[in-house]
């Protein structure tokens, strides 16, 4: 028994050491963001001899953080909102209609998941450019197109556990399809809606390639601004690292608040 307990302790210590190794990149990023240029040059690994906040001030201004954060929030929230709204509706209708046509439509959505972004990227930008839709609204619409497949797939799967008899009972009580969906079915889909939201937020918030092709400097999101900012300060690590730290902070805060739901959401999205 004693030996067993000692082994357990040994495993736990190994785990903690490994975790420290895992977060060491974040540690190095943060401590060096507080150093001066010379401070980094003379001492990369340790904590700063002299703490400075100047880097953060400059990075905050150069990242245009208020604006880029605002656009990131706006685009993520709007995109995820319409993805949840329209995908849940489509998932419901496709699951409740057992006809061949409905099956084919569902297969089209699933098949779209096989097409990688880079395969449609060039014509997509060309087509949307021709109708003047290379702007935040166009981007949100594109996210609906790219995000709906997986979301519909997840909603469609979740519908299996919601009995048809509920629909039938509501119909007898005089409710139409629209009312049945929003009053009865959608509230029951809440767990899967949380999963859909989490998966899409992680992807859209962090996306760089698509916004880089669609948005201009004025409507840039955080990853886009980060790219310009980093190019501007190559070899000026004290500024670059302060910028990276600022960009990460909002994500880490949300993660610590909602980590249980996030991990559950990602698991469901991958396993189903």
């Amino acid at each position: 028994m004693k030996e067993k307990r000692r082994n357990k302790l040994l495993v736990e210590i190994c785990g903690i050491l490994l975790a420290l190794l895992w977060i060491s990149p974040f540690y190095l990023m943060i401590v060096n963001a507080f150093k001066t240029k010379n401070g980094i040059f003379s001492n990369v690994l340790g904590i700063p001899q002299e703490w400075t906040f100047e880097n953060f001030k400059q990075a905050f201004i150069d990242l245009d953080f208020v604006s880029s954060f605002g656009y990131s929030i706006f685009i993520s929230v709007a995109s995820v909102g319409i993805i949840v709204l329209f995908s849940s509706m489509a998932g419901y209708a496709l699951a409740r209609n057992k006809s061949k046509l409905s099956g084919v439509i569902f297969m089209i959505f699933v098949a779209a998941m096989l097409i990688p972004f880079q395969s449609v990227m060039i014509p997509l930008i060309s087509l949307f450019g021709q109708v003047d839709m290379l702007n935040p609204v166009g981007l949100i619409f594109m996210y609906l197109g790219f995000g709906s497949s997986l979301s519909i797939f997840l909603y469609h799967g979740a519908m299996a556990s919601i009995p048809v008899s509920l629909d039938e009972a509501a119909t007898i009580d005089g409710a139409n399809k629209w009312q049945i969906f929003w009053k009865i079915v959608f509230p029951m889909l809440k767990p899967i809606s949380v999963t859909v939201m989490i998966l899409n937020v992680i992807w859209i918030w962090n996306d760089y390639l698509l916004p880089s092709l669609v948005l201009d400097a004025e409507t840039a999101t955080i990853p886009l601004k980060m790219f310009f900012f980093f190019g501007q300060y190559t070899k000026q690590w004290h500024l670059a690292l302060a910028g990276l730290t600022i960009a990460i902070i909002p994500v880490i805060i949300v993660y610590f608040i909602a980590q249980k739901q996030i991990i559950k959401g990602v698991t469901d999205g991958a396993v189903k």
Partner: protein
Amino acid sequence: MKNRSVSFWLFVTPTLIALGLVVFLPFIYGFVFSFTDWNGLKATEFLGFANYVEVFKDTEFLNSIWFTIKFAVASIILVNVIGLGLALLVTQKMKSSNVLRTVFFMPNLIGGLILGFIWQFIFISAFDAVGSALGMEALRGWLSTTETGFWGLVILNVWQYAGYIMIIYIAYLESVPQELLEAAEIDGANAFKRFWNVKFPLVAPAFTISLFLTLSNAFKLYDQNLALTNGGPFNSTQMVAMEIYNTAFSEFDMAYAQSKAVIFFILVAAVALTQVYYNKKREVDL
């Protein structure tokens, strides 16, 4: 809901239109124009398969495919071995189990671009500092050669995805009935045997999921590639996605880039369909 009912179409049409305009229309449009001299706006001449013939002679493109395959193989092995290792570690009964999961998973919430920039600093400055302190030459000059660029990308990818794959394995490990493990222990099976003979067969489906997730992910990698090495030195660490991007938006050779994109689609779709095939086969076997 019936096919003819208004509500069915009301519910399905919005996403159908978005998918059509964003995915299928560009896909078909791009496919058609890959057989022409399209410049992104208009085409003047039908070229048949000329672009495709050219692609197969394009050493830069072929190199990028080869580099991507090597990267995918190294990543798949390491991500899965380490991901499974982490999952076995954090499913032990211990106090720090939840904290460890949180830490290992954390990199997945941050964008590849930002992670790539952080690791650029680690490889260039921190590795160099450790290398000179310990007198290890192997840690100096990272990302300046093809080899260190390759391993840099692999390390970044493993660090990021091992935690993601970990939670997939955890989901399956936690569904292993406790009684089975206890029964095996009473029968005298040691920790290794309990893993190999009891847990392993039950988490087998997780392997298929994880293998294909890491594979398709490695093939589509762009942000990390851009931020960490930007393809350098001399385009030797350029992966397929970046090669296509550069052909289109640096060299402005749109039709040619699109024919590469079509080939890229065929590669990725083949991988995905193989997965579907194996999943179906497994379900039949069960």
